[in-house]
Subunit: 233 residues, 2 copies
DNA sequence: CAAGCACTGTCCGCCAGGCGAACATCGATT
DNA sequence: AATCGATGTTCGCCTGGCGGACAGTGCTTG
């Protein structure tokens, strides 16, 4: 492996994790014994074995594999970056990303987390919560401001989410990053619960809500329906 | 979440893991307390939180993000499924996969593992081992037969790997699956060590070594060089 | 209808193994 | 050579996972 941040001494890890060195030492020795880390005597690094740990979540998602194909098709049709995400507390977590080749938009990939209130995917996922869950979210969430357009008022956010529920899609323009806007739709399970969201990410300025809705809403809903049907069968 | 295999009772998990139920119970309660699992009182399921665990390996790979872009470009150029993998013991582990839309080839995705000796990616990774490591591999590996074409003789495998070292690429035809062949090249770090491998997967019968070499070797090497250069800077 | 049985959840004593303060070692600088 | 900072190692403590035993529940059967 390239000797980058992958290789770290016990002391490096300890200071990064703000843990006693002896704790880190004990831990990396256990990781090594289990095959999750290796050492050349001085430095330690993770092995691909650790991938076995977290990916079980994705493999267990019944619609994950189908979603990858559906998003590939969607990207081919609309020629824009497409993503699927789920909600984890106040954050959205990307579970599929199909980047368009035109922009290398931020360093997002599978597992990346962003605050839910500023991303179209997040708005859709929040709109899928029950009223009780939504109130809990509004109590827990920080509603941090990222741009002048960021919605940070709980009352107005509640209104925006009601709008998403009514429309069946979310449009967000430059609330997280000045240069990005997006449109998202929910993916529902057989009982109608929102289990994930799909979106298309766009360059702000090139698109507005009306144009994006006309161009992307139907393809997004087709992809969502395709994913949903893969759960039923 | 959809009520699929994601939702399991303690007893289900226990029988699947062949563990005492009390052990499983203790464990899922801890997972729930830490936020990695949730429960409705009867069934338990993982939360997206667990993605934080294993993906640290990918994020730590210095060339991972660049590799995704490089493979997207490669797929666009050659219009075939492209992958990157690393070696973990006797298995190769996919770390990037860019499926072609023409085939939904097997259920491979990030983190999937296959025996190294029957896949072009694996041959390249084995060729990158030191002689000592290679002998250790040949001692550990099972060299299981998957098709009539599978190479299962350690001696002939050693010869094939020497050939890969000489050629700088690996061609494998129907040794894992009758309908799949592929061509792979190494990705090296600044010191020349093989840290990963790239390949193009093809339909067996449509391609032979000469044609595949003529069509794909140069694009593969360009992608590998692009990834390597991202490690140096 | 009661007894039996299979299945699931819960309790508790045991002990592996992580915790962290204290100690040892190494290398560099003055 | 002496000092000091950084890193590796040791050891007693105690959390928390282990698993056998026990209890509650629902369904079948004589």
């Amino acid at each position: 492996m390239g000797h980058g941040a992958t290789h770290q001494s016990v002391a490096d890890i300890a200071s990064a994790a703000m843990l006693p060195r002896s704790v880190v030492r004990r831990f990396v020795m256990t990781l090594s014994r289990l095959g999750f880390a290796k050492s050349d005597g001085k430095c330690y690094w993770l092995t691909p074995r650790v991938l076995k740990l977290g990916l079980s979540y994705l493999y267990a998602l019944p619609f994950w594999r189908q979603a990858q194909l559906a998003l590939e098709d969607l990207r081919a049709e609309v020629e824009q970056s497409c993503s699927m995400a789920v909600l984890d507390g106040t954050e959205l977590v990307y579970v599929v990303r199909v980047p368009s080749r035109r922009i290398l938009s931020m360093n997002l990939s599978i597992g990346s987390r962003l605050p839910a209130h500023v991303i179209s995917l997040g708005r859709v996922l929040l709109a899928g919560l029950t009223d009780i869950e939504l109130e809990q979210y509004l109590k827990d969430a920080e509603l941090k401001r990222f741009t002048p357009h960021t919605e940070t008022s709980p009352a107005r956010l509640r209104g925006a989410i009601a709008q998403v529920r009514a429309n069946g899609y979310a449009w967000i323009d430059a609330e997280f990053d000045e240069s990005i806007c997006g449109i998202a739709v929910p993916v529902r399970d057989s009982e109608g619960h929102v289990v994930a969201a799909l979106n298309v990410s766009l360059m702000a300025g090139e698109w507005n809500e009306k144009k994006a809705k006309a161009r992307f809403l139907a393809p997004l809903r087709r992809a969502a329906a395709q994913i949903r049907s893969s759960m039923l069968g």
